[in-house]
């Protein structure tokens, strides 16, 4: 694994994010502080703007506000590397793309239609072996199980190790054991590499177990704090009891 030394001295500020689609206000004055080594879970009802917030951070959606990454020791802004695990991929079962092809397309400029380059192949095997899925390297991506695909995507997201890892509901289409495994892996990455993680999730029990901080979003930040604080907030019950 490409390890980054633990520092505890970085801070990511997502400030005053506003997104409008026509007249509709999708996100209003969203502010989030993330510290390295912390997992912040983003929860909220369907259509609350969770995915839009993530797309704004990635620069996919037009927004106002900014995302800054500061080195608190040096006291200056630095360029932030983002790792992202999408909800799903836009692929068919028979797509002639293997895990090597997928991985190399995102991390290398060496064309994947040319014969495999040994050093690149070995690097990908190393990165996949972090999650014990190196045997999948020559498998077609459409034929991976949900759990395998999530691990491949996680492996791509941490190559190279990012400062901020964004996980967009990464557990859809996986059984409960697979989900638990995934959370454990994410937790290990967080501890060993001291990176900030922003996780969008619907699984409130797992969020309670693994998140350092929870943010309840419904177009704006409704409340934030430790899982216990947020789960005890009357506004949390208002939203989630209504959903049920």
């Amino acid at each position: 694994m490409e390890k980054k030394k633990a520092c505890g001295a970085h801070c990511i500020k997502i400030s005053d994010i506003n997104v409008r689609f026509g007249d509709e206000v999708v996100l209003k004055d969203v502010n989030i502080h993330l510290h390295c080594g912390h997992l912040v879970a983003l929860i909220g009802p369907n259509g609350a703007g969770k995915s839009t917030l993530i797309k704004s951070i990635l620069g996919e959606v037009k927004h106002t506000g900014k995302v800054t990454f500061r080195n608190l020791v040096k006291g200056k802004a630095e360029k932030m590397k983002i790792g992202y695990v999408p909800q799903s991929l836009n692929i068919e079962r028979d797509i002639p793309v293997t895990v090597y092809d997928l991985f190399a397309s995102y991390i290398s400029c060496y064309p994947v239609w040319l014969p495999k380059r040994k050093s690149l192949y070995e690097k990908i095997v190393r990165q996949l072996s972090i999650f014990s899925i190196e045997d999948c390297i020559d498998k077609q991506i459409g034929k991976l199980s949900g759990g395998e695909l999530q691990r491949v995507l996680l492996s791509i997201a941490i190559t190279p190790m990012p400062n901020l890892l964004i996980l967009d509901e990464p557990v859809s289409g996986i059984d409960h054991n697979g989900v638990m495994d995934f959370y454990r892996l994410v937790d290990t990455i967080k501890r060993e590499n001291d990176i900030a993680i922003l996780l969008v999730s619907h699984d409130l029990d797992l969020v309670k177990e693994y998140a350092d901080k929870v943010l309840l979003l419904n177009h704006e930040v409704i409340c934030e704090g430790t899982p216990d604080e947020v789960y005890d907030d009357p506004r949390f019950h208002e939203i989630f009891d209504e959903e049920k």
């Binding site: 992202y84 090597y100 994947v112």
Partner: protein, 280 residues
Amino acid sequence: MDLIYHMMDVLLPFDFISFTFMKNALLAILISAPIFALIGTMIVNKRMAFFSDAMGHSALCGIAVGVVFGFMNLSLSMIVFAVLFSVLLNFVKDRTTYGADTIISVFASIALALGLALLSLGGSFNKYNSYLIGDILSITSEENIFLVACLALVLLMWIFAYNKINADSISRPLARSKGISGKLYDYLFSAVISVVIMLSIRWIGVLLINSLVILPAASARNVSLNTRQYHLLTLIFSVVMGVLGLVISYYVHVPTGPMIVLLLGGTFFVTFIIHTLVKR
């Protein structure tokens, strides 16, 4: 050029190659088959078959613009038109909430109608009939030079940008997180498709161009397990069926374009059957 012709005479001692127009036609196929093969693989992966088809229809407008403005070189006017047209189409597509197919249809219909109207001014569309079904035997060595430039362009793109286009086609936000600007590569790829298709219209024709782009890749996809196999098989199908189609059409007196497409159609169904059998 004479040197190439001479080499062809020496290497290919068949009577069909003795004519200069057949030499030019064979060269055109050998140059453009790899172009179609390469862009076809990505057009099929990105589900852009409808876009490339629409570009073929819009080519008539590119020709008409060249004729109306009195361009000496129609290929040049078509290239300019192709780039502008694809950029404008993408620009509008990104700013509306209609499906891409609707916007492509709107643009292609207008371009086709405009092309037909302009070329028919004075009731003389007949002389442009060859643009509909193409005439490979009329291709000139100068047009082949444009095709070589096209091949170089596509190869450069495939060497420097293939991974990025591929990354964007699988997941745009994921590509974005790795610093890849999906939109930029989308525009670039669309412009290249348009240029390639417009330049090939003269010898393949509006009606068949898309088959040559889609069929080799679609056939290869039936039996490929990874990107390298996919490219190699697409290339083989495209070149072999192209050359075979030209030779057969010479002996049985069938237009070359339809002959090539029929052979590629056969290839698709053979690979499709293999795909179905292997899957079972």
